[in-house]
């Protein structure tokens, strides 16, 4: 037996790393197991939106909990994860005027959950943010959203957890997990085993491989984000910007980091291969992204992209994560399948899972994320 602890966490992304940190805050001993290195896939390769607007209304309490953590991240983590509360704008195009109504309705519902949004006409937007193109009809501005650096976030949470005593094993691929008596026995590919009465699965696109071992398979689909970055230009674009549209191809977004580079994301997602630990950016997806970026902000056409990237993300059919206790096995918990939308809520997920594990309950509504929704009637 390599190690025994109160909790084993399988999966060292943002969810697992932040859960480890908050579990230590509750005084529980934690072993965090990661196949590769902390935060290398979905957590480290996503766009970096710290965005509440646009999330389902039922998710806003979780998002609010998370934003409070982002705001104190520097003190909490002892590291700068480049969190900037510089605003977020969601826009729609002239050909879809009906979306303005959706934005208004969303803003009213969001206000009840404590998220203030300001609706602006296209011209008002262009006065304030001259980079928007003529096709932009209207936008919804959230002054209290922003962005952070995904490459830095999860590793910073993991280091903070380790400083508080969490035991972290990288390069530890888990091949088997089962409950024997009161304890879970988790076995790594190299034969090491770990034991704990509580097991938290935060394994992203690999989540199903573990939940299946407890009779709870889920229809998760691996994909990869379609990301690019430009050469640096003087820092001038404060908010993160995204398009509201029913078409995946048109769904592009961008943000400028303080160093000056503009990160571009969206349009068609690429394939990813969890078994081979690889994700690829398809060239046609890069071209499609750049085309739609030009429509959103034509001036960006004067810049060059210098790099593209992707990673392995797990998508659920309803785009909602699996989060909460197992329906089959006591002591087993899940938080995975965040469907390309987990970065902002990540630290809130970690804190909430720690709360559920340590106290047995939470006020945060997580009912929509229960794993039973995928159970096949027997």
């Amino acid at each position: 037996m390599s190690g025994a602890s109160d909790v084993i966490i399988v999966g060292g992304g943002l969810m697992g790393s932040s859960a480890a940190l908050f579990l230590r805050g509750h005084g529980l001993s934690v072993t965090l197991l990661e196949t590769d290195l902390i935060g290398r896939q979905a957590s480290g390769t996503n766009f970096g939106n710290v965005r509440r607007q646009g999330r389902p209304i039922h998710q806003l309490p979780l998002a609010n909990r998370a934003i409070a953590i982002w705001r104190q991240s520097r003190e909490l983590l002892g590291a700068d994860v480049e969190y900037l509360q510089s605003g977020h704008i969601r826009v729609c195009y002239r050909e879809r005027p009906e979306l303005v109504g959706s934005m208004e309705e969303y803003a009213a519902n969001a206000r009840a959950e404590g998220l203030e949004l300001e609706l602006l006409s296209g011209n008002a937007l262009r006065d304030q943010f001259p980079f928007f193109g003529p096709d932009v009809l209207a936008g919804s501005y959230s002054a209290t959203d922003g962005h952070a650096n995904p490459r830095l976030a999860a590793p910073a949470f993991a280091r903070a957890a380790a400083r508080l005593g969490a035991v972290i094993h990288e390069n530890t691929k888990i091949v088997d997990a089962q409950k024997v008596g009161e304890d879970f026995i988790v076995t790594a590919a190299d034969g090491r085993t770990f034991r704990a009465p509580i097991l938290l699965i935060t394994a992203g696109a690999w989540g199903n491989a573990l939940s299946s071992q407890f009779g709870e398979p889920v229809p998760i689909v691996p994909k990869g984000p379609n990301m690019s970055v430009t050469e640096p230009i003087p820092y001038s674009i404060l908010p993160a910007v995204g398009v509201m549209t029913p078409l995946e191809e048109e769904t592009v977004y961008f943000r400028q980091v303080a160093r000056g580079n503009i990160v571009l994301g969206g349009s068609t997602r690429g394939p990813s291969f969890p078994d081979q630990y690889r994700a690829y950016v398809e060239p046609q997806n890069t071209l499609s992204q750049l085309k739609h970026i030009r429509r959103l902000a034509p001036q960006l056409g004067k810049l060059n992209i210098i790099r593209v990237w992707s990673g392995i993300e797990g998508y659920m059919p309803d785009s909602q994560p699996v989060m909460g206790p197992s329906a089959t096995t006591s002591g087993l918990y899940y938080a995975f399948g965040f469907s390309g939308s987990g970065f902002q809520i990540g630290p809130g997920v970690g804190e909430t899972m720690a709360e559920i594990i340590a106290k047995g309950a939470t006020d945060i509504p997580i009912q929509p994320y229960r794993i039973e929704r995928f159970a096949t009637p027997s």
């Binding site: 590291a79 160093r259 750049l290 960006l300 210098i306 790099r307 593209v308």
Partner: protein, 457 residues
């Protein structure tokens, strides 16, 4: 039978000879090249309206340059030649190109990557000041536009290019203040047995040194660079170094050309998903290939200095050999005897290249000795101290991990210029072998790609 589609990337010595072999086999290959004219770097052609003679431009290699250019000129009309085409990605069995904003995706049956080389650079404190060039950059200015990089120029680094470009500057009438070679003279003596594999090239090198001496250029061996003096507003003002005897010296100049031999441009092989292995002689990761140039990926072939630095003469041989291998694999008749003879040629140059690596060793220890305030990654403004601090804070010891945390190698060159030095610094700090640091994963686009791509299509 439908004519197989062969794509050759690069129109230097390897690409030209590969295209010639295809045409001789009755195939019309597509030749994609980033340059405005063929010739590649070493045999770079001057603009159409320039009239400098071959002897003046290429010195001892004038005959080879002229032969290569004439071959390429003779191929026009028989090949689908696309100059000024950047190959920005290879994926899905297609080569993705960009020419200004025009984009294309070209399928292929066989792909020959003849991507050439760039300078291998060792950062020096102050190398970001205007007036700091790579040796290759200094040579481009001279060959293409007949301009010098400065009024008083210092050449620093090691390798054959150091002496060649310094001589070319002397012949062009530029003021070469000094040649500072980091390699000790004794290394050259030790390398002689290998260098004698190609005596004529060895003799060319000796002649260059003599020419510099005759011109009164101060040549220092076994030096250690300390700093390029200057400031952001006015650029380079001098250079500070320690002589082989350990004496600190300062030389005034307004331009420095630096480099430590060359490194292959392997990003396209990486995007084509070719396997790489670590080469302990050059301390670089190189794409795997068999003796004929077949990579680990079926249908993808590697030739010339883009696969391994063996020089221009070898590139002509490996370019032709790679094309013959591709033709043979496509079921076309090829002369097996010729292939065997070309293999022998490439082997000879491989021995010579080993000699060069010994004579002009990569001064890996200089990376670990870089002061904290020296810029390591110029694109992203990361200093040696920044990288060391990130390593201490995060424990990162792998190239891509260090890049993710510190931005080293994350900028527009994607680590092509700082990556090798950064790996040496990481290895020294972590006290691990440099191969354990790994190599930076290549990502598209291999060079900056305009967001306006495809706008007018």
């Amino acid at each position: 039978m439908v004519e197989p589609r062969i794509i050759i990337v690069g129109a230097g010595p390897a690409g030209t000879r590969a295209a010639e072999a295809c045409v001789q086999a009755g195939i019309r290959p597509i030749v994609l090249d980033e340059g405005r004219r063929d010739g590649g770097q070493i045999y770079r052609r001057q603009p159409d309206n320039f009239t400098r003679p071959y002897a003046k431009l290429y010195g001892s290699e004038a005959g080879r340059a002229q032969a290569l250019h004439e071959t390429f000129d003779g191929l026009k009309g028989k090949i689908d030649y696309r100059p000024e085409a950047l190959v920005w990605n290879i994926a899905g069995g297609q080569v993705w190109t960009a020419s200004q904003t025009y984009q294309d995706a070209l399928p292929y049956d066989a792909l020959l990557l003849c991507t050439g080389a760039t300078d291998r650079l060792m950062p020096v404190k102050g190398w970001q000041f205007a007036g700091s060039y790579s040796l290759g950059g200094a040579q481009v200015g001279l060959k293409s536009q007949a301009v010098s990089i400065g009024h008083k120029v210092v050449f620093m680094g090691s390798g054959p290019l150091l002496y060649l470009v310094a001589c070319q500057y002397v012949e062009a009438g530029a003021q070469v203040v000094a040649v500072l070679d980091t390699a000790p003279y004794s290394a050259r003596i030790k390398a002689l047995p290998d260098l004698l594999a190609v005596p004529s090239v060895l003799w060319n090198g000796v002649a260059l040194t003599m020419k510099l001496k005759r011109a009164g250029v101060a040549v220092y061996n076994g030096i250690k660079p300390l700093e390029i003096n200057g400031n952001a507003a006015e650029g380079v003002s001098g250079i500070r170094f320690r002589t082989g005897a350990g004496v600190e010296q300062q030389i005034a100049c307004d331009a420095v050309a630096m480099g430590h031999h060359l490194r292959p441009e392997t990003q396209l092989a990486d995007l084509a998903r070719c396997a790489f292995t670590f080469d302990p002689v050059t301390r670089q990761w190189l794409p795997e290939r068999d003796g004929d140039g077949r990579s680990s990926v079926a249908g993808t072939y590697l030739a010339g200095d883009g696969a391994k630095i063996l020089g221009a003469r070898s590139a002509e041989a490996s370019g032709r050999l790679g094309a013959l291998a591709a033709l043979a694999d496509l079921g076309l008749p090829v002369d097996k005897g010729e292939m065997a003879s070309l293999r022998g040629d490439v082997g000879t140059y491989a021995k010579f290249a080993r000699g060069l690596a010994k004579a002009f060793p990569w001064p890996s220890e200089q990376a670990s000795q870089l002061p904290d305030d020296a810029l390591l990654c110029r694109c992203e403004g990361v200093t040696a101290g920044d990288l060391r601090a990130v390593m201490r804070e995060t424990g990162a010891q792998e190239a891509n991990r260090a890049k993710a945390f510190s931005r080293v190698g994350m900028g527009r060159c994607q680590g092509r210029y700082c990556g090798l030095a950064a790996a040496e610094l990481i290895a020294a700090e972590a006290d691990i072998p440099v191969e354990q640091v790994g190599r930076l994963r290549g990502q598209a686009p291999v060079k900056p790609l305009t967001i306006a791509i495809g706008d007018d299509q």
